[in-house]
Each structure stands twice: as C-alpha cells, then as structure tokens.
Symmetry: C2
Subunit: 398 residues, 2 copies
Amino acid sequence: MATCDVTGVEVGELNPSRRVLLGPGPSDVSDRVLRALAMPTIGHLDPEYLVIMTETCGLLRRVFQTENELTLAVSGTGSAGMEACVCNLIEPGDEMIVCVNGVFGGRMQDVAERCGADVHVLEVPWGEIFDSSAIGDFLKKHPKTKVVGIVHAETSTGAYQPLEEVSRVVHEAGALLLVDAVTSLGGMELKIDDWEIDACYSGTQKCLSCPPGLSPVTFSPAAAEVIDSRESKVQSWYLDMSMVRRYWGEERFYHHTAPINMTYALREALRVVVEEGLEDRVARHTLNHRALRAGLEAMGLVYIPKSSLTTLNAVSIPEGVDDARVRGQLLNDYGIEIGGGLGPFKGKAWRVGLMGSGSTRRNVSLVLGALESVLADEGVKLDRGAGVAACRSVYSAK
Amino acid sequence: MATCDVTGVEVGELNPSRRVLLGPGPSDVSDRVLRALAMPTIGHLDPEYLVIMTETCGLLRRVFQTENELTLAVSGTGSAGMEACVCNLIEPGDEMIVCVNGVFGGRMQDVAERCGADVHVLEVPWGEIFDSSAIGDFLKKHPKTKVVGIVHAETSTGAYQPLEEVSRVVHEAGALLLVDAVTSLGGMELKIDDWEIDACYSGTQKCLSCPPGLSPVTFSPAAAEVIDSRESKVQSWYLDMSMVRRYWGEERFYHHTAPINMTYALREALRVVVEEGLEDRVARHTLNHRALRAGLEAMGLVYIPKSSLTTLNAVSIPEGVDDARVRGQLLNDYGIEIGGGLGPFKGKAWRVGLMGSGSTRRNVSLVLGALESVLADEGVKLDRGAGVAACRSVYSAK
C-alpha cells in the first residue's frame, strides 16, 4: 500500500504497536472485542441494528445492576456521559453540590457551572475521600441542593469512594445522587439500584475493555422524572436525553446516527463481562490488585490514597527518580504503558491500571519485573526479587 | 460462544448481515477501513498515537482543501460537529441566520437557540435551495448577524446548495459562514479555503465511507479568532474547541480520551480518498449519479430537488406504492438498504445514496434492477429494462 504525502508528511499504512496497556485507560482490548468492532457496518435503522441496541441496553442494565429503563450508551467518551448527566438534570439556577478530590470532580464542577448551576464545591485534598457525615453537614448548609455529584473511582488519584452511606444522606436531604463510575463499572462493585444511585456514567475503555468512544449512562425513575419535567430545553441538543431515549427506545425516533461499530464492540465487551459474572470479575480485580500492591510495596513504593481502587494503583514516584525516563523505558523496552500524574501529581505519581481483561496475573508479574529492572537502572536501592516474591505469596494464600 | 440471557433475551454472538448500504448513511465501509478499525488499541497519549493524530489532521486538511490550523475530528457523530461549530462561535445574545430547507437546517436552528443565539430563520420549502441575493437581502434586515449557517448537502431532501456566491454576500455583510458538509465532504466539490468558508463540519459515515462516530471540523483563522476572543466559556465542556485544540495540537494537553480505534479508521478512510484523488473521486460520484438518475427517470421516478446532490438521490414515491413494503423487500430479498423520507417527506420520498466506496457502477446496476422488479410487484407500469438501458447509455457516452 502506497504512502501518501500530506503537507510534507508521508502517511503510510497503519501499524500500531501491540502495547500492554497498564495505564489509567484505555485498557487492553481483546481480539474478540476487536473482531466485533470490525464486523460489517449496517444501517442504524436496520431491524438488525435495532435488536443490537436493545440487547446492548439489556447488557448495560445487567452490568450496572439496575432495572432503570433509561439506560443506554451516549455517543461520546466518558466526559460526554458526564456532560449528558449534568446537563439533563440541571436547569440554570439549580443548586448542585460537587465533591472535588481530583481531576474528575473538578471537571464535573466546570461542566455544572457551564450548565448554569449554582455550584457548591465540597473539597478534600487530592487522594482523600469524602465522609458521608461531611456531605450531610454540607447539605444542611445548602438545603435547596438538587443534585450531589461525586466520583466513585477517581482516576487521577486512584481513590475509591464508598457510596452507600453517601447515598443515604443525599436522599435524606431530598437531593439526587450523580456518580462518576468511569473507572469502576465492570471492575469494582457498583450496584445502581441497591445503592439508590440516581444517575451514573462510565466509559468503555476502562474495566469493560472496549475501545474508547461510548459512554454508558443510567438514570433512575426519579432522575428520569426530573428530565421529563424540565422547564427549559437541555442546552445540548446532542446530549438531550429526552430525544436520545426516543431513539434508543421502542419508538426508534431518528436523532443522530449512532456509532454503529462501536456499539458492536460494546455489546461484545459486555457479553464478556456477563459470561465471566460480575462477582467473579470483581474478585479477579481485587486479587490482582492485592498481588500488585504487595509487590509494589515490597519494592518500597508507597500508595497515595488510603482508600485505593482495585482497578487503578496510584503510587508516589521515589525521590530522585525521573518520571519521563522510567515511563519511556517501560514503553520503549517492554511495550508497557503506565500512566503519569495529572495536575498537582504531575511528575509525582504513577498510575498503574489493572482493568478488565488487563487485570491478570501475567500483567502483574510483567509490570513488577520490568519496574524492578527500570528502577534499578535509576539507582533505586531494591531488595532483589522482593516484588515478585510478595505478589506470589498473595496468589498462593488465595 | 455461548449466548447469555439478559432480562429474558438471549444475546448471542454478533453476526450482522452484509448489507449494500445505499441509504442516506452510513455508506459502505471497505474491508481495508474495517481492518484499520480493528488494529490493536494503544494509549491516547502514546507517542505513536500522537503521530496518528497529526497525520489525521493533515489528511483532513487535504480533503477539506484547507490550510486551517484548527482542523480536527470531534469525538462524536456529525450532529456533535454541528453543535461544536455553533456553540464555539456563538455567545448568548449573538445574532445568527440559519437557512432552513430540510431537517438539518432545522436542527441547526434548534442547536443555535439552545446556545442562546438570537436566531433569524430564512426558510424556503423543503427540496429547494437558497438564492444568494435572498440571503444578502436578509442580511440587510439583520445587519448585526455574526454567523450565517447553511447546509451544503441537505441529506433530508437531496438538495445541493452552491456556496461561492453565498460566501461572497455573507462576507460582504461582515458575518462568518458556517457550512454543514455532512453529505458532501469527500464526494462533492468542497473548497474550504477557495470558497472562504469559516467553519465546516462533516461526518465519517457518508462520502468518507468510514463507520459513524467522528465529526471532521475545520475553522478559518477568522473563526478561530472569534473563539479565542470569547467573553463567556463555551457552554459545552466536551466540545470546547479552546481545550480540544490543545489536545490535538502540539501541546497534547489532556482533555478527554479520543476514540482511538475510530481515529484509525478515519485515517485509513482519508488515505483512500487522497490516494484516489479528490477530483477523480468527485468525477466518479458525478458519473454514477448521472447513470442512476437516467435509470430512475427512465423508470418514471421523479427527482424531488431541482438542484440534486450527486451523493444522494431523493425521488418521489409513485402514487399507490407502499413505502415500507418496497424498502422491506429491498432489504430482505436483496440485502439493499435505501432510505425513506423524513418529516413532511415521510412515506413520500426515497433517498438512494451513492457515497464513497458505495458509489460504483455495480451498485447503480444492482439497485436499478432490484427496484424495477420490486416496483413491478407493486403493480407499477414500467417499460421493461428501461432503467438499466438508460444508465448504460450514460456510461457508454463517458
């Protein structure tokens, strides 16, 4: 195949490397999901595609553990899902509390302000999580709050936020609970109905191990009722759930053209999750996280959050170690991607993801071995083989 | 592979039919593009992916025929591109003229109103197009107009809107010209720089023959300057070009996670366009359109727009013929998809697309033959073989 010259650049045949994706996402995508992605494109109003949409909604409900009718995949990445949730629930002047302890809480604040919300920010330092009683107290200060937004799995810090008590205090105050589950859906326990979450969005490229491009969302009947009784139009036409739901629903009312092949991939990725079983899948993520954690800690690395995700491991970069050089060596010599830090953690944190089909003993072993070698090159004093030995004992004790 | 039961529905292995996509989009996607789509997912900040983004921008500039720096693919379908253009150029209270002669002009009006624009609608009946002098007169009535939005290729009616004169009158009035080129980019002549178009959006699933999911957009330096000098934040965080451009630009500032595999597919689809050459590609679309048109007209079918697209052919459904039955028979017996009508054209129009790699003599012949047979079943009196003969004479005279 010929290359073609575009403004002085030769654009040749596409040939991306096979990476081991152990960063904050995208995660490893199995060949099975890639095969589904590349199935023949059919029309978005083809009777066959309508069945695929219905099946995808059914699978999403199963993985979200919900019976919410309004459950579908927004035609954009996770941030589009965030915006869809906020802009459909909020009307200008509505009060919203946003809990900020990292990039994604901060992003939700920005999105809510752009929607015209009167935003009250509850903040704790990056890496920490929120106590439900602090949220309850904050709600007493802002009794007209319509929505409380919080991040279940803060991808920027690796912090895990328990939600059951939070949900109780939010509902006692008569507000709706909006949850960012981008890095937890399909990897950690997340029970939309049992925990009474009113609106939740996620991404495809984390624990579902599907390429990025869609955002699963779900709205409780109470949230759907808020959308139905809006006085103003949703400011985004593209993300207006009152129209999008008619497109995904039985009516099949034309809205936009859904990303057809991405829906194929999501459907297949969800089938993989359901076949494994949610409990087994969560247990697998927990086990591999514990093994990795034991290994990293045995190598002297320190976890940043006290309450860590099992899907993403954020550790401090040891004193004197060059962030870019380590990650570059992992990428170039081993083909392994891990993530750097964002914002105040830039240059100070690594983020190692074990998500979806990437959460395996092989990957735990691989990254520990490679990291030990690279850190030795950096002059870090290490107890040789301690990482691998520590992780082995976790698997043996299982 | 086992099926899995989801809320009473067995979700089995994905196995979509191979359709011949001759509707209003998606169009036929070649195996070459599907292979690119299914290449291994890599990280969105991987140095290899950054090269792919740069190459994709370069290819987009080539296909848009522009040197605009701000040229990229929005992470959503064509309607997201529409919203991105409008919401970045418009601030609340700005005056905007929207030219409405079909679904997509109407959609632009809705989007602009949601952005807080003071919208002035210039309307002609569906299927007709706009005279530049009428636009000039309308601009005199609304001298503070900031943006004039118009559809180059109205997918709902098949009408083709020439733009060169429109551009002149819009710029004489000191306004910016915003163009919907969803169904023309890569299939019909579209010269962003020569025609001085200030902002333009398209989709991947029409004449580029790529699956839906991305929206190519381009902004002239004047439009970029308007974005840079905004007083208010863009109401959509997801579509805020001041941030998205930093992600696509040299800075690679993290915004959202791009749809990586979709970018692979778009890059490959654009390579196909550049390899064929834009002029040859436009000529191919013109020839196949002329042949199809000769055939359809010989069968007694009447084109709806006087000024027809070459990429999409909208014809009236003959009296007494059942729309759903004909399209159902084409789909079920031949695996051919053609489109029905929208809005006032529902049940009254068929839309036959010959877009991208679907614009071939084989498809012209196929759809004429199948349609003759199906129409005969419907009791339409036809001059037997007239369609195929008429189209043959177009190819012979070439």
